[in-house]
C-alpha cells in the first residue's frame, strides 16, 4: 500500500513536469516545432538576449511586478495591523471583502475592472484609451493585496500584544514602537507576502489581458498573442531561464520560513 502510494506520487510528479520538460528541450531545439527535435542549438538563447523586444517585455513585467508588489505590501501591511485591532462584525465584513478577489473567478475580476476603467475613462476623463500601465498597476495591486494581508495576519496573531505596551512604558512613542517592535516581528510575513505578490503579478495573464493597453504590454499577454500564431522558440528559452530563477526564489523563501519556524520553536521552548 505504501509502495503503491510512492509509485503514484512519482507518476503524478511526472505528469506535472512532463510539459515543462518538453519546453526545456524545446528551448535547445533547432526547429520551431515542440514535437520535433531537429538538433541541438543555443541560438534560441542568443536570439533571446540579442532581441531587445523580448527583454523589454520581460522588463515591463518585472517593473509592473515590483511596483505592484511594493504598493500592495505597503497598503496591505498597514491594513493587516488595522484589521488585527478590529473586532466583531466590522472585522468579518472587512475579511469578507478581502476574500472577494481570491474566490471570484479571475476573468470576472478582469472584466469588472476593465468595465470600471472604460466607464471612468469615457465619463470623467473623456478618453477612449484609458488602458495602460496605471490600469495594470491598479489591477495587480488589487489582486495582490489579499495575499499580503493573509501572510501578515498570522504573524500579528503570533505576536505578544504586551510587547507594544512594554515599548511604550519604556518611553517609545507609538510610531517608534511600531517601527522598533511590531515591524521586526512582522518582517517574515511581510517578506513572504511581497514575494508571493511579486510572483503572482509576474505570471498573471487573465486579469492583465482585460486591462492592458497597447502602450504597455506584459510578457504573458505577448505570449498569449503568439499562441495564436507560431510561437517563437526564444520564449521557450525564457521559460527555461525563468524556471531556474523562480526555483532559487522559492528555495530562498523556504529558507526564510524554516529559519522563522525554528526561531518560533526556540522561543516556545525558552518560555
Amino acid at each position: 500500500m505504501k509502495r503503491l502510494g510512492k509509485v503514484w506520487t512519482v507518476i503524478v510528479y511526472l505528469f506535472l513536469y512532463l510539459p515543462m520538460i518538453v519546453l526545456f528541450v524545446g528551448s535547445f531545439n533547432d526547429g520551431r516545432d515542440l514535437s520535433e527535435f531537429e538538433g541541438f542549438t543555443l541560438s534560441n538563447y542568443v536570439t533571446l538576449f540579442r532581441d531587445t523586444d523580448s527583454l523589454a517585455l520581460l522588463l515591463n513585467s518585472v517593473i509592473l511586478a515590483v511596483s505592484s508588489a511594493l504598493l500592495a505590501t505597503l497598503i496591505g501591511t498597514f491594513a493587516a495591523v488595522g484589521i488585527h485591532s478590529m473586532r466583531g462584525r466590522i472585522r468579518s465584513l472587512v475579511m469578507t471583502v478581502t476574500n472577494i478577489p481570491l474566490v471570484n473567478p479571475e476573468i470576472v475580476t478582469g472584466v469588472s475592472l476593465s468595465l470600471l476603467f472604460v466607464f471612468v475613462g469615457r465619463g470623467l476623463l473623456h478618453t477612449e484609451n484609458v488602458l495602460g500601465f496605471t490600469t495594470l498597476l491598479i489591477a495587480h495591486v488589487t489582486f495582490n493585496l489579499p495575499y499580503v494581508i493573509l501572510s501578515v495576519m498570522p504573524k500579528l496573531r503570533q505576536m505578544d500584544n504586551q510587547l507594544m505596551d512594554a515599548a511604550q512604558d519604556l518611553g517609545c512613542t507609538p510610531v517608534q514602537g511600531f517601527f522598533k517592535v511590531v515591524l521586526p516581528e512582522l518582517w517574515p510575513g511581510i517578506i513572504s507576502g511581497a514575494i508571493m505578490a511579486f510572483t503572482m503579478s509576474l505570471d498573471d495573464f487573465v486579469i492583465s489581458y482585460f486591462v492592458y493597453g497597447n502602450s504597455f504590454v506584459t510578457l504573458p499577454v505577448e505570449i498569449y498573442t503568439n499562441t495564436r500564431k507560431q510561437m517563437p522558440p526564444k520564449f521557450y528559452a525564457m521559460f527555461t531561464l525563468m524556471f531556474f530563477v523562480i526555483l532559487v526564489v522559492m528555495i530562498l523563501m523556504n529558507v526564510i520560513q524554516a529559519r522563522d519556524e525554528s526561531k518560533q520553536k526556540r522561543r516556545v521552548k525558552g518560555a
Binding site: 510512492k6 512532463l18 518538453v22 514535437s35 497598503i75 478577489p101 473567478p105 525563468m242 526555483l247 522559492m250
Partner: protein
C-alpha cells in the same frame, strides 16, 4: 482606535477597485447600448445554458479527478521526512508560478495527432489516437493546471493530523481501510472542501485551456465572456454572463461551506 485607521487606505482601495467594479458589472448586465434598463442581456445569456452546463460539468469532473490523483500524493508528502517534505511541497507549488500558457501549449505538442505521444505510440504500431480536441483533453488540461491547488490544502490538513488518533483507531480494531474511512478521511474534509473550491473556480471560468485543447463543441463560459470583450464587442452580454458566472461560483462555494459546516455539527 488609532491602529484601526491604518486599514483605511486599504478599505478605500477595496471599495473603489473591488466593490464598485462589481456594481459596474451589474449595471452593464441590466442596460443596453442606449443606456436603458433591460433584461435582454440576461435573457440572451440564459440561451447559453448548454455552455454553462458543460462548463460546470467539466469543472466537476476536473475536481473529482484532481481529488483522486492528489489525495494519495498529499498523503505521501505529509508522511515523508521534514527536509524531503519541503522539497516535495516546493515542487508542487513551482509549476503554478510558471507560465500556464506555455505549459498548456506544451500539452498540444504532446497530444496532437503528430505529437510526441502519438509518435511514440507509432513505434509500436498503435494510433494515432485522438488525444486532443475533445472533452477529455479539456478536462485533462484543467486537471493539469489546477492539481497543485488541490494538493496544497490537502497536504496542509493531513500534515496536522494527530498520529495518535490513527494509532487509537488501529488499537480499537480498525483495519487500514476502516482507519482511512472513519478517521483520516473525515478529518481531512476541510482540506478536501477548500481543494475542490480552489480547483472548481478557475476550472469553471477558464477560456485558454478550452481554446487550446478543445474543439469548437467544447466552448466554455469563459470563452463566451472573452469573446464579448475582445472580438464581439458586446460588453452588455459579457457583463450578464460574468454576473451569472459569479452567481454559479458563489452558490457552489456556499454549498461547499455548508457541507463542512454540517459535518462539524455531526462530529460534535
Amino acid at each position: 482606535m488609532k491602529s484601526k485607521a491604518l486599514a483605511s487606505p486599504y478599505i478605500l482601495w477595496m471599495v473603489i477597485f473591488t466593490i464598485v467594479p462589481l456594481a459596474v458589472v451589474a449595471y452593464y448586465a441590466f442596460t443596453n447600448s442606449a443606456g436603458e434598463f433591460t433584461l435582454e442581456n440576461l435573457a440572451n445569456a440564459a440561451t447559453y445554458w448548454p455552455t454553462f452546463l458543460r462548463s460546470v460539468g467539466y469543472a466537476i469532473a476536473a475536481c473529482v479527478i484532481c481529488l483522486i490523483m492528489g489525495y494519495p500524493v498529499a498523503y505521501v508528502i505529509a508522511q515523508t521526512g521534514a527536509s524531503a517534505q519541503r522539497i516535495l511541497y516546493l515542487l508542487v507549488m513551482l509549476p503554478m508560478c510558471m507560465s500556464f500558457l506555455l505549459r498548456t501549449l506544451a500539452w498540444v505538442a504532446l497530444l496532437r495527432d503528430t505529437g510526441l505521444i502519438n509518435t511514440f505510440l507509432g513505434f509500436f504500431g498503435v494510433g494515432p489516437l485522438p488525444l486532443i480536441r475533445n472533452a477529455g483533453s479539456v478536462i485533462m488540461g484543467m486537471v493539469y493546471n489546477y492539481l497543485p491547488y488541490m494538493i496544497m490544502p490537502l497536504y496542509t490538513v493531513i500534515v496536522k493530523l494527530d498520529p495518535r488518533l490513527i494509532e487509537a483507531a488501529q488499537d480499537l480494531g480498525c483495519d487500514s481501510v476502516q482507519t482511512f474511512r472513519r478517521v483520516i478521511l473525515p478529518l481531512s474534509l476541510p482540506g478536501i472542501v477548500s481543494g475542490i473550491t480552489m480547483v472548481f473556480v478557475p476550472a469553471v471560468s477558464t477560456f485558454y485551456i478550452s481554446q487550446k485543447l478543445g474543439s469548437t463543441s467544447d466552448v466554455l463560459i469563459g470563452d463566451i465572456v472573452e469573446r464579448q470583450f475582445k472580438s464581439a464587442q458586446n460588453p452588455y452580454l459579457g457583463a450578464a454572463m460574468s454576473l451569472l458566472l459569479m452567481v454559479i461560483v458563489f452558490i457552489s462555494i456556499g454549498l461547499m461551506n455548508k457541507f463542512t459546516g454540517d459535518e462539524e455539527v455531526t462530529t460534535i
